[in-house]
């Protein structure tokens, strides 16, 4: 009997270990009551001490949201979301007295990041990264701020930006993703709790990679991050966003909005590594991730480059897009989306060519394992005035095992005869011969899968900034654990 019990416990502990970053930080949250109504929207706005115009914008969004239909065109299967069964605001309690330096940051928080292998202090020193930490909806630490300030760079939480730089926020928020864009973005507009704000002034090349780490912490808390990044004329910025979330039982709704604006000759590089909790083997308890990310190349010769590594979430609905408005502007989308277990992902991009001689490039690598479903959905639209526009799209899918699915749904709309649009797609299976070859050389099967898949994604991973690439490679291997054998 004892032995049986021991076995059961061992198996259970193995199951729990599967999500390596699934630990919970104990910080008391100060939450708004469950459910969503105008009072909650007002509560959030008041809690953040927001000006009237911000509240009005939120309320406008909320009223519009109530009239909207859920988008149903994606290849995702899930029970309808009960919006009244979630909390919309929580903040770590220690936020009442905002820490002025890292020393004042809740040590519990710092330990959390240490567990992730990304200690703030070390990062600050070693990687030269300025970190704006979003923890449970509220930014608690911003580093390098002074140094950045000297160059006129603004890097702060969106709440702070609303207070300190209302003219910029008013001008640009909702200019790329209007509040009524889609139901998820609209919800975000009404209840967003925090996020990052970046402004790079004319002619400035941001000297460090700006980065934010997101984690979901309090139970049942929808995460509604809002990021707004403006690169003024002749500027450059590289922004990193990475997330790992602690394990939770309840489904957690995540609806983020990211808006990027690139003026004449400006360049924005936006990289994401996403590892939200994917749920158990049946998909229970995982994060629902509905994200609206969009950038606009507003100025001539501007450039926006998205790099995405998606390994987590039970559901992913995400299409980082670029509107190429300025003449000669260009955009890139590099993506790795991995689904395992019961995960479902419907992701891709939109490239909207409006300006002359605009160029876009899409490289998408989808990996499906377990019984997951992975869909690439991409739109390339060439407007009537986009003389000489060009797009190149490459979509590769890799299947691990025989119970998963990979789907490619490209949409191409061309209204200009001078445009050139290319689309290439491949689907392959990880072969037994490849695995045997690796194993014969001594590499255990799971590591062999990680290695082959990392090779498959290399073209995308090498677009990531160095310190992120290493983390991403590890994630790729971790997220495919249990996919073979």
């Amino acid at each position: 009997m004892a032995a049986t019990q021991e076995t059961v416990e061992q198996v259970q502990s193995l199951e729990q270990d599967k999500y390596k970053y699934g630990f919970v930080t104990e910080i008391e949250a100060e939450s708004a009551p469950k459910g969503l109504n105008e009072d909650i929207v007002r509560f959030i706005s008041a809690k953040k001490n927001e000006p009237e115009w911000m509240l009005e914008w939120r309320l406008k969004a909320f009223r519009h949201w109530q009239t909207m239909e859920e988008p149903e065109w994606s290849k995702l299967n899930f029970k309808p979301i009960d919006y009244q069964d979630a909390y919309y605001y929580s903040a770590p309690k220690s936020m009442e007295d905002r820490p002025q330096s890292l020393d004042e940051v809740d040590p519990e928080l710092l330990r959390t990041y240490e567990k992730l292998g990304i200690p703030l202090e070390e990062q600050k020193v070693l990687a030269g990264v300025a970190v704006d930490v979003v923890f449970d909806s509220v930014s608690v630490a911003t580093t390098f701020k002074e140094e950045l300030k000297e160059q006129g760079i603004i890097f702060c939480s969106i709440s702070e930006a609303i207070q300190e730089h209302p003219e910029l926020v008013k001008k640009y928020m909702g200019s790329v993703v209007p509040y009524g864009d889609n139901k998820h973005a609209c919800l975000n507009s009404a209840v967003f709790t925090d996020g990052s704000f970046v402004y790079i002034p004319k002619g400035v090349r941001c000297p460090v990679e700006l980065s934010t780490y997101f984690r979901i912490n309090a139970e049942n808390t929808g995460q509604f991050e809002r990021t707004l990044l403006i690169a003024d004329e002749d500027s450059y910025v590289s922004y990193l966003e990475g997330c790992t979330a602690p394990q939770r039982d309840e489904h957690q709704l995540h609806a983020a909005v990211v808006e990027l604006v690139a003026m004449d000759n400006a360049e924005i590089k936006y990289s994401t590594v996403q590892n939200w909790y994917p749920g158990d083997q049946d998909g229970n308890g995982g994060i629902y991730n509905f994200v609206t990310k969009r950038g606009i190349c507003r100025g001539d010769h501007s450039k926006i480059s998205w790099t995405q590594v998606e390994t987590g979430s039970a559901l992913t609905w995400k299409y980082p897009s670029t509107i190429l408005k300025g003449d000669h502007s260009s955009a890139e989308f590099y993506s790795v989306a991995i689904t395992n277990g019961a995960q479902q992902a419907d992701t891709g991009t939109k490239m909207i060519h409006l300006g002359k001689n605009t160029r876009s490039r899409i490289i998408s690598k989808g990996i499906s394992a377990g019984k997951s479903q992975n869909t690439y959905r991409g739109l390339v639209r060439i407007g009537a005035k986009a003389e000489g526009a060009r797009n190149f799209t490459q979509c590769d899918s890799l299947l691990v095992g025989d119970r998963c699915g990979a789907h490619t749904v490209p949409y191409i709309e061309n209204k200009n005869r001078s445009a050139r649009v290319e689309h290439e797609a491949t689907t392959s299976k990880i072969s037994d011969d490849q695995l045997f070859y690796c194993r014969q050389r001594g590499i255990p099967e799971e590591e062999a899968v990680g290695l082959v898949v990392n090779g498959f994604c290399r073209e995308v991973l090498q677009e990531l900034p160095m310190e992120f690439a290493v983390e991403a490679q590890k994630l790729v291997a971790i997220s495919l654990e249990g996919s073979v054998g």
Binding site: S431, G442, L451
Partner: protein, 252 residues
């Protein structure tokens, strides 16, 4: 070092090997020759532990330990290396990365400390220089876009880095021109040591002009029909396998 006792193997119920007996000592090179379909490649794959093969009888002792139940990666860790007839391509994985993973995985299996990246790269560069292989090859994806000869040389490089105790060369000479053949053979000869052993599986005698075996075995119908010194290979070259391809069991 290697002792194969009465080994019987089936694939999908079809008998391929019918009682192989073979003993290989440290420092020896054994050649296994035979007509097509005699079970040569099966023997190589079974030694390496490939799935799909069912051992119905017999055992494989490697340094006294029965390895028939070990996974392929465990056998590799024990020191078994297979040079493939058709080396596999792994797009996007550089030779350096692949070798480092393999090298450290084997060390880990043996309970040895893993080697850090910088030190390993130094070690690897030395090996490429010793073999006269260009360092540029290290940056390329494993076997992707390699010519037949390059793939085989790459296998030899892997062998020299991983330093196996027993290397099985499965028709390494197939598809190689005479120059490539010589390069590969030189590589193998350079790796011969008193404490390792080689099994050279080949259809033709010519490889054995360059890698001189201590013993030659003729495999036909899943059994070793004849064993002898290196002169047996020459005899086969002259007479062909006719003596062994008659009715099953009627070998000379």
């Amino acid at each position: 070092m290697l002792e194969i006792k009465n080994l019987h193997v089936e694939i999908d119920g079809k008998k391929i090997l019918n009682g192989i007996n073979l003993t290989i000592k440290e420092g020896e090179v054994h050649a296994i020759m035979g007509p097509n379909g005699s079970g040569k490649s099966t023997l190589a794959n079974v030694l390496a532990g490939k799935d799909d093969y069912e051992i119905t009888e017999g055992e494989i002792l490697f340094n006294g330990k029965d390895i028939t139940e070990l996974e392929p990666e465990e056998r590799a860790g024990e020191g078994v290396f297979l040079a493939f007839q058709y080396p596999v391509e792994i797009p996007g994985v550089t030779n350096t990365t692949f070798l480092k993973e393999a090298f450290n995985a084997q060390r880990k299996y043996r309970g040895e400390e893993e080697m850090d990246g910088l030190k390993f790269v130094k070690h690897l560069r030395q090996k490429t220089r010793d073999l006269g292989i260009s360092e540029e090859m290290l940056k390329r994806s494993v076997n992707v876009g390699f010519s037949g000869g390059e793939k085989k040389r790459n296998d030899i490089l892997q062998m020299s880095v991983l330093e196996p105790k027993l290397a099985v060369l499965d028709e390494t000479d197939s598809g190689l021109d005479i120059d490539a053949l010589r390069t590969v053979a030189d590589g193998v000869n350079g790796l011969r040591k008193p404490d390792n052993a080689f099994v050279v599986i080949t259809h033709y005698q010519r490889l054995l002009d360059y890698i001189v075996p201590d013993q030659v075995h003729v495999l036909a119908f899943g059994k070793i029909r004849k064993s002898g010194g290196k002169e047996l290979a020459l005899e086969l070259e002259e007479k062909g396998y006719a003596d062994f391809t008659g009715a099953e069991g009627e070998a000379a």
